[in-house]
């Protein structure tokens, strides 16, 4: 699988995604510079976490205007796989590849900790190696992770099986008490209608390495590699 990791000014989880894809999974992985206009063919593009453009104005609001984003939008609309993690999710929302918005956490504070996620759908290339309703333990690290969509859109997302991950407890129960950031419906990850674009706030790349006691992030990468 040929993977590309986009480097925006202020991306800071770019090295982590690159490391996991290239060194842990042995995939051909390239850096993509935000000023580039032309995109060579890829099997997967990762929009990494971080603070693109300092998160000034709104997270992702400036990055969507980066020269490379035009090509990435075209690539995604043609069915190319784009995984947006954390800030990458925010950029996907700002650029219109995914619906909704990411608001400031309900606590008004940055939150970095392990959370549990319930896999709502395994009908995506990102979760194909997970059982439906499986619970993954993956960390979040964000200040603006409260996912919001209008009720009509929410219903459409549910109807189209596009809500992929919800915050839950270890037993898979998902309600207001398991919501770390105030997301509507405890949503942690959503896909586009074709399921080739996934945005998620949690960081699977942080728990894929066998070095850690928790490594559920590997399910996301295993899925990707085996469905390619």
């Amino acid at each position: 699988m040929k993977c590309g990791v986009v480097v925006f000014p202020g991306s800071n989880c770019d090295h982590d995604s690159y490391h996991v894809l290239k060194h842990l999974y042995g995939q051909e992985t390239h850096w993509i510079w935000h000023k580039d206009q032309v995109l060579e063919p890829f099997d997967l593009i990762v929009l990494p976490g971080g603070f693109s453009y300092g998160d000034y104005l709104r997270p992702g609001a400036i990055a969507r205007f980066s020269p490379i984003m035009k090509s990435i939008i075209k690539y995604a609309n043609a069915g190319g796989r784009v995984l947006g993690i954390c800030n990458g999710f925010q950029i996907l929302v700002e650029s219109g590849l995914l619906p909704g918005a990411l608001r400031r956490n309900a606590s008004q504070k940055f939150i970095c900790k392990y959370v549990h996620l319930r896999v709502e759908s395994n009908q995506t290339p990102y979760t194909s190696r997970c059982e439906k309703n499986a619970v993954l333990k993956i960390p979040v690290a964000h200040a603006e992770g409260g996912y919001f969509v209008e009720p009509e859109t929410l219903k459409a997302l549910e109807d189209q099986d596009r809500i992929i991950l919800r915050y839950s407890d270890a037993a898979g129960r998902s309600d207001a008490t398991t919501n770390p950031n105030g997301s509507v419906g405890q949503i942690a990850g959503v896909a586009n209608a074709e399921k080739n674009v996934l945005g998620m706030m949690p960081h699977p790349e942080r728990c894929a390495d066998p070095l850690w006691p928790d490594r559920d992030g590997r399910y996301i990468f295993d899925s990707l590699i085996h469905s390619s």
């Binding site: 000014p9 939150i111 970095c112």
Partner: protein, 745 residues
């Protein structure tokens, strides 16, 4: 543009610059003329306590700074220690106390930014941040404002740059209510043969400016940090710089990229005293001169004078010296990262700093006169009057309670002991995938990327002990910090310190300083660990009330095998619990006394460095051989708190059944803070070997009980004295600080 004529240098103006008449006379002698206003400003910041270390330097010279691993000791941007495999760690701790008290968010944020630049200036990618924070009591609303502001500032800056904040310590005591402490530690890793120094070498080489534009913020920050606070402190808010972590991130990446080239001659961060200290220090280290055209400095606003430009402390700026002819190549890299850059001058051979503004000479100062010309300062010292009285106290007057339950709950819920998760969850502590032990154990453990090695890092200082006996207190800080590193599986290889004290012009404060430095130096000598970098912060007082002496110590330890790290929490029911080290009747200065509402008094626990060494050596060997499951240092709250924390600070909560046999008075046994003690857990099969090791090491060791059950039960000489539901205790410990953080009044 015409600049306004300079005001005459009146006595009042000189005094406003923090210079004494004697110092001004010294300037006149050195120059053979009167300085102009810009030059006066330069002397003011360069001779300030913050930049010149004039009060502290004679004492700091006594610290042990050498060792086989030391590549760079104090005097550069940070210390450098060899860790083998061609790699070195670069680290330092630095204070940002005064700005953080005036403006907590920006003060703390720029503290983080400044120390990171010190690390990547030397060619190292920053791998980890730790913070040592001190506030007044959380019952005061203003303290909660400062606490929340500082944590938010650290979070905003460190998270954005993408350097994980992996640990630190936080204490609350009324002595800091008028003068908080924000000490930030940063560590990076570099190739041992690619360390960059702040030297402006090579006559004719161009001097490059890179980073943010220069504005009027932070002018006289260094002087502000060299005076006490008073009622007018609030007016100093404009002297606090404003940080931009986004620019810092770009600067970091650009610097590390350019440093791969072989034509970078020297590099220096513009930190305290901005362009002034950067240019003087770089020229001084090379023994050369510098010529600067101030009209070329990228400016944020119009009408800035030479004075403003030289004294600005705008953040995220660096000075590079590169080989002649490479300037365009260098600037192309900086521009790729969207940074402002310009050639602002060149290295000269005349030993002068000359600068022009608007085409006219603005500064003409001999480097040596400014850097080394300050009047020698030998501050008198006097043993403080309060010491005899406070040290005379003994615990005899104190009633011994029947049981320990109530006090254990109070201690677990006290902000100094309670879980700090509500703080560190606001820091990204995992970014870059190196954090092996997440915050919440004795020390942070991070892997060295690309190797099988790891580093354990701890910062510590119990300032209550330092107030009662600064010599013993400083020793205790080093010993505890090393113990934390050892409990995590690291072998201490280097120390950095941040010495926070009151006004050095007060002989009693100076005595505290002298004693603490002696204590620190003596213990490092015995432990054979070099002090490779450090920072001094004086004038930490408000309206004549000084903080307790707070010599914050950070210790870096090396793990040759990253799989052999250890954490403080119990791992499984059925494991046995043991205590390495002896418990004595040490109640002086304890958290227990504080909870009883007793004034701070007594003698701090006595430290026997030889015993401490043996305890640490034994523990480290047990960890390296994989014989123990957990190791936790006993500190604030004593043995009872250490045992309880071992039960519930990990991913799982366990009960424990403990039986102690001792003739030490009950409260001292449970809550006293004797040094050189480590709570361990192990499988039964290891018991005999551990006992044999203790005997060989001439170290006391006792098996205390077993992990398991749902209760925390402690009996002394077969008499029950604590019996509580462990989950309830865990809740008290977990929720205490969170509650304060949420209070809005």
């Amino acid at each position: 543009m015409n600049s306004t004529p300079e005001p005459p240098l009146t006595e009042a103006l000189i005094a406003e610059h923090g210079l004494t008449p004697a110092e001004y006379q010294r300037i006149q002698e050195l120059l053979g003329r009167d300085p102009n206003l810009t030059e006066l400003g330069i002397f003011s910041v360069m001779w300030s306590e913050h930049c010149s270390y004039k009060s502290s330097r004679p004492h700091l010279k006594t610290l042990p700074t050498e060792g086989p691993r030391v590549i760079q000791g104090p005097g550069e941007n940070a210390g450098v220690v060899d860790i083998g495999d061609g790699l070195a760690v670069v680290f330092k701790i630095e204070s940002h106390n005064h700005p953080s008290f005036i403006e907590p968010h920006q003060g703390a944020a720029t503290g983080v930014g400044g120390i990171m630049r010190d690390i990547f200036t030397m060619g190292a990618r920053p791998l980890a941040l730790l913070d040592s924070l001190r506030f007044g009591e959380l019952s005061e609303p203003h303290t909660r404002y400062l606490f929340n502001g500082v944590v938010a500032g650290i979070s905003a800056y460190g998270n954005c740059v993408g350097v994980p904040t992996v640990g630190g310590d936080i204490y609350f005591d009324a002595c800091y209510s008028g003068n908080i402490l924000v000490n930030v530690f940063c560590l990076g890793v570099a190739r041992a043969d690619k360390i960059f120094l702040g030297k402006a070498g090579g006559v004719g080489n161009p001097i490059l400016y890179v980073g943010a534009k220069t504005g009027r913020d932070g002018i006289h920050g260094a002087s502000m940090a060299s005076a006490e606070f008073d009622d007018a402190t609030e007016e100093k808010r404009p002297t606090v710089q404003v940080g931009d972590p986004f620019t810092e991130k770009l600067l970091l990446e650009a610097c590390l990229e350019i440093m791969k080239k072989d034509w970078v001659v020297g590099v220096q961060d513009m930190g305290a005293a901005g362009l002034t200290s950067a240019s003087f220090e770089m020229a001084d280290r090379a023994g050369l001169g510098i010529a600067i055209d101030l009209d070329r400095v990228p400016l944020r606003e119009d009408g800035m004078t030479a004075y403003d430009i030289m004294l600005s402390e705008s953040q995220e700026r660096m000075v590079f010296v590169v080989e002649q002819g490479r300037e365009e190549e260098a600037m192309a890299i900086f521009r790729r990262w969207d940074l402002d850059t310009a050639v602002i001058g060149q290295v000269t051979d005349d030993g002068f700093l000359r600068a022009s503004k608007d085409g006219r000479p603005a500064i003409n100062l001999p480097i040596a006169a400014v850097v080394e010309g300050a009047l020698k300062c030998e501050r008198p010292t006097r043993r403080p009057a309060y010491l005899d009285e406070v040290q005379a106290w003994t615990a005899e007057s104190l009633a011994i309670p029947d049981r320990g339950d109530a006090m254990l709950k109070e201690l677990l819920g006290s902000p100094n002991i309670a879980s700090k998760h509500s703080v560190y969850e606001q820091y990204d502590h995992m970014v870059r995938l190196n954090t092996l032990v997440l915050p919440g154990s004795d020390a942070a453990v991070i892997r060295v990327p690309g190797t099988q090695k790891a580093l354990a890092i701890s910062v510590d200082c119990n300032s209550r002990f330092c107030y009662l006996d600064p010599y013993a207190g400083a020793q205790a800080a080093v010993a505890e910090s090393c113990r934390n590193v050892v409990c995590s599986g690291g072998e201490p290889i280097g120390v950095t310190n941040c010495l926070n004290f009151g006004n050095p012009e007060n002989p009693e404060i100076m005595w505290q300083f002298e004693q603490a430095v002696r204590g620190l130096g003596d213990l490092c000598q015995i432990f054979d660990i070099p002090v490779v970098s450090g920072n001094v912060s004086l004038y930490n007082e408000t309206k004549g009330e000084a903080i307790y002496p707070t010599p914050t110590i950070a210790v870096v330890g090396l793990l040759e095998d990253l799989t052999r790290y250890c954490t403080q929490w119990f791992k499984a029911a059925g494991h046995e619990i043991g205590l390495i080290g002896a418990t004595r009747e040490d109640l002086g200065g304890s958290e227990y006394l504080k909870q009883l509402g007793e004034p701070l008094r007594g003698k701090p626990p006595a430290l026997n460095p030889e015993v401490e060494k043996r305890v640490q050596r034994m523990c480290l060997e047990l960890i390296r051989e994989g014989r123990i499951e957990s190791a936790h240092d006993c500190s604030e709250g004593g043995l009872a708190v250490a045992l309880a924390e071992s039960c519930f600070s990990g991913p799982e909560v366990f009960g424990a059944v403990i039986g102690l046999a001792s003739d030490v008075r009950q409260d001292a046994l449970l809550f006293g803070e004797s040094h050189s003690r480590i709570v361990i857990s192990f499988t039964s099969g290891q018991r005999e070997e551990i006992q044999a090791r203790a005997q060989q090491s001439a170290v006391e060791f006792a098996v205390l009980g077993k992990v398991g059950g749902s209760r925390f039960q402690v009996a002394i000489n077969h008499q029950g004295c604590i019996d509580q539901d462990i989950r309830m205790l865990a809740d008290i410990w977990k929720q205490a600080l969170t509650r304060y953080g949420k209070r809005l009044d």
